[in-house]
Symmetry: D2
Amino acid sequence: MINVGIIGYGYWGPNLVRNFIENIDCRVVAVCDLSPERQALVRSRYHGVQVTADANELFENPQIDAIAIATPVSHHFSLAMRALKAGKHILVEKPLTSSTEEALRLIDEAERRKLVLMVDHTFVYTPAVRKIRGLVNESQLGSIYYYDSVRVNLGLFQEDVDVIWDLAVHDFSIMEFVLGRQPTAISATGLSHVDGRKEDVAYITAFFEERLIAHIHVNWLSPVKVRRTLIGGSRRMILYDDVEPSEKVKVYDRGIDVTQPMESDYQMMVSYRSGDIWVPALPNAEALKVEVADFVNSITTGARPIADGHAGMRVVQILEAATRSMQGRGRLIELGVRRAVA
Amino acid sequence: MINVGIIGYGYWGPNLVRNFIENIDCRVVAVCDLSPERQALVRSRYHGVQVTADANELFENPQIDAIAIATPVSHHFSLAMRALKAGKHILVEKPLTSSTEEALRLIDEAERRKLVLMVDHTFVYTPAVRKIRGLVNESQLGSIYYYDSVRVNLGLFQEDVDVIWDLAVHDFSIMEFVLGRQPTAISATGLSHVDGRKEDVAYITAFFEERLIAHIHVNWLSPVKVRRTLIGGSRRMILYDDVEPSEKVKVYDRGIDVTQPMESDYQMMVSYRSGDIWVPALPNAEALKVEVADFVNSITTGARPIADGHAGMRVVQILEAATRSMQGRGRLIELGVRRAVA
Amino acid sequence: MINVGIIGYGYWGPNLVRNFIENIDCRVVAVCDLSPERQALVRSRYHGVQVTADANELFENPQIDAIAIATPVSHHFSLAMRALKAGKHILVEKPLTSSTEEALRLIDEAERRKLVLMVDHTFVYTPAVRKIRGLVNESQLGSIYYYDSVRVNLGLFQEDVDVIWDLAVHDFSIMEFVLGRQPTAISATGLSHVDGRKEDVAYITAFFEERLIAHIHVNWLSPVKVRRTLIGGSRRMILYDDVEPSEKVKVYDRGIDVTQPMESDYQMMVSYRSGDIWVPALPNAEALKVEVADFVNSITTGARPIADGHAGMRVVQILEAATRSMQGRGRLIELGVRRAVA
Amino acid sequence: MINVGIIGYGYWGPNLVRNFIENIDCRVVAVCDLSPERQALVRSRYHGVQVTADANELFENPQIDAIAIATPVSHHFSLAMRALKAGKHILVEKPLTSSTEEALRLIDEAERRKLVLMVDHTFVYTPAVRKIRGLVNESQLGSIYYYDSVRVNLGLFQEDVDVIWDLAVHDFSIMEFVLGRQPTAISATGLSHVDGRKEDVAYITAFFEERLIAHIHVNWLSPVKVRRTLIGGSRRMILYDDVEPSEKVKVYDRGIDVTQPMESDYQMMVSYRSGDIWVPALPNAEALKVEVADFVNSITTGARPIADGHAGMRVVQILEAATRSMQGRGRLIELGVRRAVA
């Protein structure tokens, strides 16, 4: 039985609490939130759970084995570091930290203490994304040509982060999980439309070593909600539409055939293929449930979780580069390969 | 009665010929195409029209008042210049030329000779785009926040131009017509997936003096056909979906309200508005028919056509900048204000 | 404060319990269900609520003012009658009873005892249906020409009722609420595809005194989920698509114009109108919450609820006629006007 | 070389003329239309084709081998009979005739004279419908449970026929081609909304000997255009959406599994299957081109065309029964098996 404490009971925290309670290997011991209203809500919903405004009570509680952190990003690092130093396994809301540097320090701390450090990249636990990763891994798509994602809606403006850190974080965590490789450089553009607020529209291109390009479009000011990812490959192509209730992943047997003409022409011949479409059935599984099970499994068996600290760090590295590039109106930012050093 | 010659009877030429024939003020005198098969096609379809492989026959024909050019881009400039020098009014397939320099020289030549120079920006003659321009001009959208367009499909790879010159040319001609202002700088990224061919995927951001950002996504390698433009404004927002058979333009009474709190907070309050949607009925009019009428009207009255040489030049300037920026992986290209000098 | 008991904690009961708990004028005193598992679920979720397998405990509890019944249809009448005789106000799951006769007896009993008898026609409390009723009442549609609804999916086969009683009950309750008039005759067809089970596909036509026709298509064997109602009027037409997340109601300014030619022709001239589409914004309100408030209001003020016993009876009358007609392969069943007699 | 004459150059005739001209085994000799405007149109489009207002000129022309008839339905029989008596093969616009009796007489006449009698059931020559028939024939769907079609739009009111004869004729011709069996009885309902005009809305149920039900919904007064057919089977189900530009046929691996519990229960267990969806690629072929080729092939080889006189007669029989049932407000009309007698 793993005893869990949750810090932050705002937008996402309630989902974490519910899923930890429903996991038979976990017990929710304490919930921490600064707001008296949110505290009252926990008390009304769950009897016997300790409720507090002081995170220290969780760190100092020797009963607690693991802590989930669902606060604004700016608090992630200090809370996570204190939790690790108190010997707790941690699951941190995405994005893992506000900077690559912070992420590296958490990774180091967790590795030294043999504690699980996991980041809440929920989408990598959805049936749709797992299916897509499977198809890519089985080479069903051939060589990947591009990864293109649009994530826009009339959304809640965040106060402390720009739209990249709020929305594109999902796309980069999915992208790195599906493609299994890291971009080498970023060029991003964007704009803020409200004085004193950060960018609410952004476009990010990611370059790779291979002949592969990725692009993410995020926007808090769209009249319609769009969640669409296109992945083009040399053999097949995928459309992943997360707004679709029942046909989220479509696999297109479409593409181009490039042939070298017999004569010594430098020019390739390009022809088109337009075959069947296949919509695989997906299991009905709540992503967060699978994620909590992965966290529990990592704690009990020592296995590495799918969304470990390194995954979290790699995404933060891209977000950092994207924001910097955006401030330079598309200026190319090279992504050095950063590794945690013990 | 205006006597017209058409050069190029490939993909687009037949539409031009048909529309000139159906315009009661025009007579199609001659069609020029290099291919014997295409020539035979013209002969079988239209009796009494002169068919030739030699464009000079059109330039030298004193009967001919106006010439439409529907050849690959690389031939536009030389054919258009020869036509102007022969005293013919011209309608040139988009994009107008391969370079801003060439466009400026055509503008100069046409102005000196008092000849009509028009570019075939077909979309600006569609009911949908005219409706959108009207809404913008009437300030129905308030301040424009962004212009975002996606134009992707499994498309014909062009041999002589990249995907920007093939597809984004539509978006830039629509954008400049709808917004009535020019970007000041461009940042673009893209990639080619076939050896020896130009870029087949591209993303272009355009910056403006105002707090406005535009973005165009074009792709020849998409498994699905998308033609979607989002225009966000402070009062209303538009979704223009050209693939929709009957509801092409949707006007959303949605957006944000930004209020300055009474206390001297630096932070603005942002709240949301989610009102009605309105889908205006659009007339059934073939764009090219309206365009041909505008060409005829310009010739007969001396009026300036909607898509004149300057409009064509401004679009070429953006395309040129976009390709250059793309080759520099997003490097910002400032757009100097270029004007034709007599 | 109204003390409420709920009988049946299966598929729909939990929604009733939750909404009664969240209504500040109500207190949930007891929940009754035969299944020990369902009882345990209530206990784990709600502390202090009495849980029982014996409905008598609710009838006999003098504390309880009102009872909601969410059991299979075959139990509605006897439970409802016992509740009324025990002096409780009642809210009964749809359809109200298994027969018109039973419905009339409940109405009589409730009227004699001055108790509220309400039927859970949830859809008439949705923002979409209320909007449509408003448009019809304001004559925005002109004369109503037809009412056409499709409600199909791969659905749970019911054991005790056919697909008409399971699904078309929704459509008839919406139809009578929106149109404010009753059909005069029914013709229905249908088929069962599983031995020993009732019809799983059905088509019902309802005739009216006016030049109006209604049709409902229900099906438990459809590979896709459809919830679409078309209402055609002489001035405007409505498409109500309940599967749409955000554009549920579309109003089309389309239709025909019929003109009498000046000469004494017997033949009318028919021409077409194809105008704008308007998608009204709808409030975000949970129907069941509004419904519970209507129930509470009826109890406290003596007002008649929107979905009263008569509404429930009229729908049962149609369902009864539809099933009878279906068994006669479309045989016309006239609907006599039935009224409760005190 | 088959010499062809076409009677009727209104809405559909031009498509026939064009397709006969493009078929290399045919030559269009003469076109007959009563309207001088339509005659002029033929002359302007096609040089060398004889144009006349007198159908006799076609019948009496010994050069002409075959005649296509594209006039209003009421003229089909007399024109077709005269053509047959003049020894011409005939292709008749759908529906074949105004009555089963007329159809039988045409069949007899054609068979006696060994002439081809074909009806223009265009849809049975489309790639989508042929694909569906193939899937049904290969038992990919298992036992067919139901055939449900909706064909509605804001349509041209016909003067001489009701909406069943105008629109449902398509559905019945597709249905009989796909299912390969005939209904045994019909129940239909409908209504007219314009004085002096026939029914503009209709619903038709067809019963079969097997446990199969079919239903067609046709409407000239719908604000939206719908062309959707659902075919449910015990193994798979099909959605055929003819409005879809690129995904017309979807095959769902969905349905129910019915199992007999081991104990001697009379009640079957019903469970659900929700598997993959498959969208087969379809060739790009114009149906009318394939149809003309079938006509030509039947003339030259003596083979029976897909849409022969018997197919035309069977559809007329259903239409006749549907109109009669509709006039009797759903009264069941049994379809006796009628056969042509020599």
